[in-house]
Symmetry: C2
Subunit: 183 residues, 2 copies
């Protein structure tokens, strides 16, 4: 192990880099499946694996149930009396939730486990946004389409929190709500 | 193991559910750290762990490097002659990339490892979007702010692909580009 590190393209150094990158990708693909197994969960929870298999059936269903339970409890649909007020309050609550490292970890683990290969963590957010819009409709107000609201509110909020690592400021979130309601 | 499953709230069944959910959350938090270690990567790549430590220093830096390498190679900045054309072509390429399960796995593993706790997978996308906007500026065209373009294009695209599990249609993506350029 005394040889110098070569940086010549196509040389040993490049081959090592390619092999290491490939190993990272393979382990990343296998990752959650190796630690998040039903026996591992049962051992950690102090229950018999049979109990977990009987109740949840598969790791996918268990993850979906845990995520649904966790993500439905921590944000409630607000009722401020106006659509803009409800959306601003709700965006603020969702942003606070996304800033929790435990939430991020569970979200990461459940990506790909939701309906249609999405994330169980997002199902409840869609329903909440739908409920906010329906309440405004019941008030007789003009409402945006749910799909457009998802694109213009949840899209940037999740992207910033999870991919850009930028905290969502209240001013920025209110700007998104204003742009949606102006459109 | 012959007792019936109880569903009374606060009973044994509820305690089991809470314990199992907590175990899932703990394993999710520990997940990638247990499988994606430098010794595990070195063993899989067939190189000495020292080589990996010397070159990358930490798992975080290794993940960031692997993600940057993987995500910069598969999408190039198009040059169609117009901002709308460039953005539409680029959105289409990014959407195709996000539909690859290996890309999704690496992305999931690198969430939280990027600058500011974001994802190394997104750094290159920001730069590409910036390059597309700069080229239009050089052409003398009117351009949107980069931050707004990130919110209105990358936000919904990543949200749909990763959290909603909805494939991004070309028509939908062109609608996002049109909304950005009209604003």
């Amino acid at each position: 192990m005394t040889e110098a590190v070569q940086t010549r393209p196509g040389g040993r150094s490049a081959r090592v880099r390619a092999a290491v990158h490939r190993a990272v990708e393979e382990l990343a693909a296998a990752g959650p499946a190796e630690t998040l197994t039903i026996p591992a969960v049962a051992a950690r929870a102090g229950v018999h694996p049979t109990t977990v298999y009987r109740r949840w059936g598969s790791v996918g269903q268990l993850l979906a149930d845990a995520a649904t339970s966790r993500f439905s409890g921590n944000v409630v649909v607000p009722d401020t009396g106006s659509l803009a007020g409800d959306l601003e309050r709700w965006m603020d609550d969702v942003a606070t939730d996304l800033a929790d490292p435990d939430v991020l970890a569970l979200m990461r683990a459940t990506i790909g486990s939701g309906p249609d290969g999405g994330c169980a963590c997002a199902v409840d957010r869609h329903e909440q946004l739908g409920a906010i819009i329906e309440r405004e409709q019941a008030r007789g107000g003009k409402v945006p389409e749910l799909e457009r609201a998802v694109d213009m509110l949840l899209g940037p909020l999740y992207y910033r929190a999870i991919f850009a690592g930028q905290p969502a400021s209240g001013e920025w979130a209110r700007g998104l709500v204003a742009a949606l309601l102006a459109g």
